[in-house]
C-alpha cells in the first residue's frame, strides 16, 4: 500500500495493522521519519508531490524492492503539504521471512524516498523559505545499492 496524505498521521496504528494476521512473516521492519526543528532553524517543512505521478513512481520502485529482497508485503505512507517539527513525514514498513531482508528493504526504500522520489521540498525558517535539493549524502546512500 502506497499513499500520500496531507493530514498528520500516527505511525503506530499503521504498524499494528501491518503486523496483524502474519503467521508466516517472522520479520517486520519499519522506519518513521520525523520533521526536525533543527534548533529553531526550520519552522515548517513543505512537501509538494505530483498526485498520481508520485505514487506511480514510488510504486514502480517499490516493486524492485519487493523482488530484490523477496518481500511478503510493504507499506509506504508519505505526508505532503506543511509539516511541523516532530510530526511524521514518512512511514515505511516491510514484511519478510527473515530480519536481514526486512531491514535491508526498509533501508533501501528510505534511501530512494529521501533522494530520488518525486517530491519538492521547501523549508520555512526564520530567514524565509528556500527550496531544498538532495544532499550529497542522500546520493551516496542510494549509490550503495547499485
Amino acid at each position: 500500500m502506497i499513499s500520500l496524505t496531507d493530514q498528520g498521521f500516527d505511525p503506530g496504528p499503521l504498524l499494528s495493522g501491518f503486523c496483524r494476521g502474519r503467521a508466516e512473516t517472522g520479520a517486520v521492519a519499519s522506519f518513521t521519519g520525523l520533521a526536525r526543528a533543527e534548533g529553531g532553524e526550520t519552522k515548517i517543512l513543505e512537501l509538494e508531490a505530483y498526485p498520481g505521478f508520485t505514487e506511480a513512481q514510488i510504486g514502480a520502485f517499490a516493486e524492485t524492492a519487493r523482488t530484490r529482497f523477496d518481500l511478503q508485503d510493504l507499506m509506504i505512507v508519505h505526508r505532503i503539504g506543511q509539516i511541523a517539527p516532530g510530526e511524521p513525514i514518512v512511514f515505511v514498513a516491510t514484511a519478510a521471512s527473515h530480519r536481514r531482508a526486512a531491514f535491508e528493504a526498509c533501508d533501501y526504500l528510505m534511501d530512494y524516498l529521501k533522494s530520488r522520489a518525486p517530491f519538492w521540498k521547501k523549508e520555512h525558517g526564520p530567514d524565509g523559505a528556500r527550496w531544498v535539493e538532495p544532499r550529497a549524502e542522500d546520493h551516496e546512500d542510494i549509490a550503495r545499492w547499485a
Binding site: 521519519g33 512537501l47 509538494e48 505530483y50 498520481g52 505521478f53 506511480a56 508519505h78 505526508r79 513525514i89 514518512v90 530512494y112 524516498l113 529521501k114 533522494s115 530520488r116 522520489a117 518525486p118 517530491f119 519538492w120 521540498k121 521547501k122 527550496w131 531544498v132 535539493e133 538532495p134 542522500d138
Partner: protein, 81 residues
Amino acid sequence: MARILLFGRLSDIAGWREKTLEPAPARLSDLRALLAADDAALGEALAAPGVQVALDQVLVRDDAALSPRSEVAFLPPMSGG
C-alpha cells in the same frame, strides 16, 4: 485544451502553478517557445539542466507531439521527501 503544471521552484519563478492552453500547442517544443515568449525567466528555468518533463504522467526525454488534452508537467530536480 492542454494542462500545464509547474512544480517546486518553477512555480515560484512563474507565479503560477497550473494553467490551461486553448488550443494546445502541437508539440512540446512549441509549448516551450510559447511559455518562454510570455516569460523569459521561466523559459530559461524550464530549459535548465535537471528539469524533466512528464507528458500525461510519463517522463519524456525529447520533443513530443501533444494531443489536445495533454497534461504537461515540468519537474525540477526531485528532492526526495
